[in-house]
Subunit: 379 residues, 2 copies
């Protein structure tokens, strides 16, 4: 039951209820998106206060015109108003927060966002089943990429064809991210020196993007002989995302590019072998950086002019969920976490190499969800 | 100069500065997106406080690590700290707002969002030029739609092909909306009775969508003989959007569908003829509803089970900008506004009909930007 961990966290902090209105949290708790609110008390069942669409017939659903209707409905249902209310302070706007606070004027208002993100971090069997389905479709699209490539294509030309095949395999299109420092459209295809272009956003790599209004990813660079194409498109084939990066090469690459790519494969193997509940996320980050330093690739690791400070991240309904595999993480791996591990390298004149897989932390170890050839694939 | 109207509004309310961090407002004022802040004082030049990406060399750019660095930089530059500061209270999260408020602890904090939305409502010649370019590409894609259709296709199959042609014509992909009650992927293709399905979002029409996580638009309904396909895809071929709806038909439709479609064309003609600075948005809404009532189509207007309460809206960097053509609007048309007018009708067993065009309000009237055949187009 998804309420359980959230209600336990509420009880532990003395909170009486959460009022949730973000699409992602409403979907998480109800299996659908509506305009309105999920009211989850610290004990007992949730109530869905729905504004739109018309026609939701679930027994938990109560139609409202505006959030100001909720307190009266709670009271008339014999329920107390919350003294300590949690709102999504990291997701809703300041004015939305103030409005909801004024509706309930609780004695204390807290932040529901971390509770929900912590709960969502540990996936249920049903969520994992969706991720397995996304992973299979993700691999089926990547399998087609060599057949989509034509000499003279730019990164964008190739991306358009990949996007089309993603949609045909059931991609829902939207690629959900958490926070204001993320923006992207369906994923990233990076070739040549565009792989080194820094972006404003908090992804592993950047790219100049198609327009100053979307400065991330492919930017119209032609795919050239002796260079790579790193494909890191969204696995958004269900509500639950998989994250998988593979590298394609047009012609032969310098030896160091193959070496660095093999290092990424080896690091993924180590993650798969050594990952298990209890392993610290910071430890994974630290051994990753040590491996890279020992191999002499530190200046190419996770970018050049701007280097990401993480080597992996949780994911699910959003691409950037906890935990983050970074030096200052306090998290340890737990069964039910799903984590993308993505050691990547960028080389001037060549492009990016390295792989990314999505893993499930099990009771005893780690299972790879994104099963697909890991070597550099010729175009 | 884009600062002018915002600075005048600040001066009129006694505000000393705006601190802006949303992608859309940063792009509006700087022509690019970066992670960081634009600090716009009530008089004088803006300062760009940039966190990422590395490499911005504009003279206004000052690199910071975190917003807490800004006050010291202002003071060391001989600038006063703001006593009355405006933050984007309708765009940034509650916690982002609190953090920025704590950084400056101004005597008074206000909302920058309405000022920016009012300023952005009146387009400059450069912005209008981008919209003209979007409109041309928008029409070029819609022109191809009959050649993309194959018997047996679903709405999603057709949408995937339209999306691919949009990308090939330079669509940047992302389709920007304002507010938390909007979610969509590249636009909407509605056929048959899916056109009547209500959605949680504040668009003119709904549709069940491809997944409960994205309940809007095409849902896999086969395109059937005697039904329509309403195409309302984003005109996101530049940073500035155009909005255009056209109707395609597979086989012959009932007479009333053609009649209602012609009514929408006639209403668009009236908007074009009578629209000019000074005309009230509420007046346009009112005569639109009167026309529809007189023709006997009120129960089909803007949906069936859930009917939108507007007939048009401003647009630009986002699809839902002021003004809104609705009964309770207090706005009047002004030169430089760009407005989508979209009287639409839904018929059970048939689908949606009606057109939408994007118009520019000029000094003397209204100019149509989305020039493309308006009749129902056979598939």
């Amino acid at each position: 039951m998804k309420y359980g961990p959230i209600q336990q966290a509420m009880q532990a902090t003395g909170a009486d209820a959460c009022l949730l209105s973000s699409n992602v949290n409403i979907y998480y708790l109800t299996g659908q998106v509506f305009a309105g609110f999920v009211y989850l008390p610290a004990e007992g069942d949730a109530i869905w206060f729905v504004q739109r669409p018309a026609g939701i017939t679930a027994p938990q659903a109560v139609y409202i015109r505006k959030p100001e209707d909720i307190p009266g409905l709670l009271l008339s249902g014999g329920l107390p108003l919350p003294n300590h209310l949690l709102l999504e302070a990291d997701q809703i706007t300041h004015n939305e927060f103030l409005r909801l606070e004024a509706v309930f004027h609780p004695r204390q208002t807290g932040n529901a966002t971390p509770l929900l993100r912590q709960a969502r971090m540990l996936k249920t069997p049903e969520e994992i089943a969706q991720m397995r389905l996304s992973a299979r479709r993700h691999a089926a699209v990547y399998q087609q990429i060599p057949s989509l490539f034509r000499e003279g294509m730019t990164d964008l030309d190739l991306q358009y064809e990949i996007e089309n095949r993603m949609r045909q395999k059931g991609s829902i299109g939207v690629f959900r991210t958490f926070g204001s420092n993320m923006d992207i459209f369906m994923g990233s295809v990076l070739t040549g020196d565009n792989a080194a272009t820094p972006s404003p956003f908090d992804f592993a790599l950047g790219g100049g993007g198609p327009n100053p209004f979307l400065p991330i990813g492919a930017n119209g660079t032609p795919v050239r002989q002796g260079q790579t194409v790193m494909v890191d498109m969204a696995g958004n084939f269900t509500a639950y995302l998989t994250d998988m990066t593979r590298v394609y090469a047009y012609g032969a690459l310098p030896d160091y590019a193959y070496e660095a790519h093999q290092l990424s494969i080896d690091m993924n193997k180590r993650f798969l072998l050594e990952g298990k509940p209890g392993v610290a996320c910071s430890e994974i980050y630290n051994w990753s950086v040590e491996k890279v330093e020992a191999a002499g690739f530190k200046k190419n690791f996770m970018g050049i002019t701007q280097q990401a400070k993480f080597v992996g991240h949780g994911l699910g309904l959003e691409i950037n969920e906890p935990p983050v595999l970074m030096q200052r993480s306090k998290e340890v791996l737990q069964a039910g976490m799903t984590i993308a591990y993505e050691p990547k390298f960028v080389f001037p004149g060549v492009g990016a190499v390295g792989i990314e897989n999505t893993y499930l932390v099990t009771e005893t170890g780690v299972e790879k969800l994104t099963v697909f050839t890991e070597d550099i694939i010729p175009l």
